[in-house]
Every structure is written in structure tokens, then in C-alpha cells.
Symmetry: C2
């Protein structure tokens, strides 16, 4: 593991690292924000942030304004990349397939299956590395935006013992039934919809037994709302299982980081309630 | 003038516009943040933000996290571009000359003199347009970063009647005596150092009669500190004229927006004290 940049931020440190990922079979970059409280004597819990299509580890750290609140609360934030990377990693010219579009799943179909295992990377390999390297506890929360909101929800729903809480901005809630999800799942997982179901947040939530506190924010001026995101599907799933989902709709807000920045403080305080 | 984007942000609106600039003889883009309080009945004051080398109107709006505080205080923010733009505007392959490097001056030398008049644009043309278009008052403050810190200081020092207060992050304080400034001034203004002096913040501050509240923050891990920025020159100038300069040095912080984001709240509150 090699540190490639560091910036002091609100008394703590934003750092970027590269490391070899055995799971993804390539070199990966991630970013971490360590609040000023983090030390060997006082390790801090970690919020994992999963970004959306086309993003890297940088978008959230540069644009969300989360460090101010993380520094106040004493919470680390880890932002992985959104797909495997490198010259020998399969790619596609479309923005919603291949690099920058890993969809937080384990691909089973060639040419994707040799690298695209973001599910295992985010659930297992990255937290193990983080917890062995930095002054953090094993208390974890998870959040994300759009494709990363889908990732945060499905990972929390399938691993409720590993997280204290989950939140999402503008998530793809029902990828089995929207164009982005159907395109990605067909390519990465093949045509068997039983395989797809293990990565569908609405389906998983409808069947959930072990329930986590869950907060979802959705802007009502989001261009992707009706065709791709479909928060009503997640809402219906929560009603089916009695899931404690807090879904909030915000007039006028769009799909951008201007929306995320406007409400990220409430997400961090929500996670802090359950992490500490 | 044409609006090209808008994003709801902390209850207000971030908007980008293009317009024809007569002063610069080209089309220009700027960004404005209008807080929720701004209306024809309750116009708000304006903070002008001048960005640094290579930036556009977008860097500050995306990365500084200022909208949260502007929304609380009821302050608009206007971020112009850093140079004239367009295919017929002279340029240079270096990052510190030509497009993205207007240095907030009126060029007198060809090929720059036909477009590079950022001083007049920021002091006169842009505020006139803003005040004729948006629900704002004629109360103004000005701030900036690096080359934009230089711009904010020199513009405030030469036009103290137009601004309530001035602040800067990591400003080029004495461009007559640093490589960035000497290169730009030679190209844009020629070899007459008397022409240079009207754009040198330290020289202007040393001779200032009408004094504005001034706040400067400088990170001590800034790679440009000793060769380009030289805050000690501004400090000496303030001592000569008794200028009310508050210069703060911050251990560990660098030249990036992570530094700006960490202290922008204090800058907005500083300006609010003098604007309202």
C-alpha cells in the first residue's frame, strides 16, 4: 500500500492510497478521511461511501463537504473507486458499463468476471485492509449515491451484521427493473434473473429479516427519477417487510453533488446515532 | 445573458450564466449562488470570489462548501471565470499564462491587450450586470485564492469605496517580486515596473489611505509559500501603513481546496460582519 497524496482538512487528514487488490486482480486507489480524534488510543468508526457512475474516490471527498461534520463527530470516511482499473481490465465505451460502472457486484460472465468483483472488495477486502492499517474500530456504516446508493443498500441488506446503519442519496432502488440495472446485470451476470435478485435492493428489502436503520434522500428534480431510480419501489418493499426506512423527497433538488452537499450533514449525524 | 445550468443548493440556487462581455470582447461564463432569502423585497449583499490559476467559475462552487453558510447568512456569491475565453482569445501553452491566468489586470501589450481586461470586468462590468439582474444590493465584499487572492486584494485596495471587506486564501501578495507575477506582468504589461505597481497588493497596501477590514489565511505546508506567495511581504506592508490586516498561518495546510473548505465559514462570517 502506498500513500499518493495527503491534505489537511478540518484538523484531520484526507489521504489517497493505492494498493494491490487480490479480489479485483488489479491496483486500486481509495481515499480516507481521518478526523482529528483518530489515534491508536482512540480509534474511530468508519463510514464507507460508494460513489455513482463515472466517479472515482475523489468526487465525494472534493464535493460533498462531509469532512467538517466527520471532524466534529470523530468519524472516518472511506471512499473506494467505482470499478476495477488498469489497462488489462475489460471496459466498454458507454459510461454505464465497465470502468466507473462496477455496480458493486461479483460478475460471473466473461470478459468481466476476471476483475469485476466490487461486492467482495467493498464487503471484505477493503474493510480488512482499512481496519488493519488505520486507527479505526470495526464499527461500520455505509452510504452512497445513485449506483453507489444501490451498492450501499444491497450490501447493508445482505450483511446487516457488518453495519450499524445505511443511507443513500438518489439510489437505483430496483435495478432489475430499470435500464441501467438491466443492462449491467445482463452483461455482468448473464440472463438468469435469480442471479440478479441477489443485487436488487428492493427485492432484498422486501425479504429482509435483520433490519438496520435506513435513510434515503431523493431529489424531485432529478432527471433519472422516474426511469432509473424509482424510490417508490423501495418504499413498497419496506412496507412489505416492515423495514425501518426513512425515505425523504426534496422538491427542486437534482442528481448532483449540490444535492448531496445540502443534506450530507444529516446523513452523518444519522449514522453517528447508531455508530456510537 | 443565458442561464446554462441551475442546481438547488441548501434551499437556494446555484446557477451558471453566459453573457457577452463588452470589456473582454468575448463570451464569458460566471456562477452565482443565490441564498433562499434573496428576493425583490429582500435583496442580499454579494461576495465576489476570484479563483486561482487554471480555474473557472466551477472550482469554488463545487469544492469550497460555502453555500451552507451563505444560505444561513443570506449572502449571494458570484464567481467569475479567471480569464477571457474563446477561440479568438490569445493563449499560451503554460498554465500560468493566457487562458485561466488573467491575473485580474488590464493588459497593455499585444497579443493580450485585445481581450485581457479582467480588472475592468471584475470591478465594473460584472457587478453592474449582477446588480441589474439579481435581487442583490450594492453591498459588496471580495475574496479569492492564490492568483485570485492577489486579485481580491489589489481590487479592494484600489477601490475601497466599492467593498466592505476583503479576504484571501494563499494569495500572491507581491507579484512584482515572484516568478508567477514577473512572468505575467512582463507579458501583459511590458517592462515598465511603474505599470506593474498598480497591480501589486503589497505595494498598494503599504501606501493605502482608505482601509478595509482584511483577512488572509495561509497554509504552512503550501508548496508555493516561499517562492510565490510571500505573506510576510503583505504583513510588512500592513505595518507600514497601519493597515488592519489579520494574517493567520495554519500549520499543515496546503494550497488546495481542502484548506479553503476548512476555513471558508470564518471568511463568510468575517464578511457578514461588515456587509450587514
Amino acid at each position: 500500500m502506498e500513500m499518493i497524496s495527503q491534505n489537511k482538512s478540518f484538523g484531520g487528514w484526507h489521504k489517497q492510497y493505492t494498493h494491490r487488490s487480490d479480489v479485483l486482480n488489479c491496483d486500486m486507489r481509495f481515499a480516507v478521511y481521518l478526523p482529528p480524534q483518530a489515534s491508536a488510543e482512540t480509534p474511530v468508526p468508519v463510514l464507507y461511501w460508494l460513489s455513482g457512475l463515472t466517479c472515482t474516490d475523489e468526487n465525494f471527498m472534493q464535493k460533498a463537504g462531509a469532512q467538517r461534520i466527520a471532524a466534529e463527530l470523530g468519524m472516518a470516511i472511506v471512499a473506494p473507486d467505482t470499478s476495477p482499473r488498469g489497462d488489462d481490465v475489460a471496459d466498454d465505451p458507454a459510461y454505464d458499463m465497465g470502468k466507473g460502472a462496477g455496480f458493486y457486484l461479483n460478475a460471473t460472465q466473461p470478459p468481466w468476471s476476471s476483475h469485476y468483483r466490487m461486492y467482495d472488495y467493498v464487503v471484505e477486502e477493503l474493510p480488512a485492509l482499512i481496519e488493519a492499517t488505520f486507527p479505526v474500530t470495526q464499527q461500520r456504516a455505509i452510504a452512497g449515491h445513485s449506483m453507489g446508493g444501490h451498492g450501499a443498500l444491497l450490501i447493508a441488506l445482505r450483511n446487516p451484521q457488518r453495519y450499524s446503519s445505511v443511507s443513500a442519496f438518489s439510489p437505483i432502488t430496483n435495478p432489475m427493473n430499470c435500464p441501467w440495472g438491466q443492462k449491467a446485470f445482463t452483461a455482468y451476470l448473464g440472463n438468469d434473473r435469480l442471479q440478479w435478485a441477489q443485487y436488487d435492493a428492493s427485492g432484498l428489502m422486501a425479504a429482509a429479516e435483520h433490519k438496520l436503520p435506513a435513510l434515503v434522500d431523493q431529489g424531485m428534480a432529478d432527471n433519472f427519477l422516474q426511469e432509473q431510480l424509482k424510490p417508490e419501489m423501495l418504499e413498497q418493499a419496506a412496507q412489505l417487510s416492515g423495514y425501518p426506512l426513512q425515505l425523504r423527497r426534496h422538491d427542486g433538488y437534482d442528481h448532483s453533488y449540490y444535492f448531496i452537499a445540502s443534506f450530507i450533514e444529516e446523513h452523518l449525524r444519522f449514522h453517528a446515532e447508531h455508530l456510537f
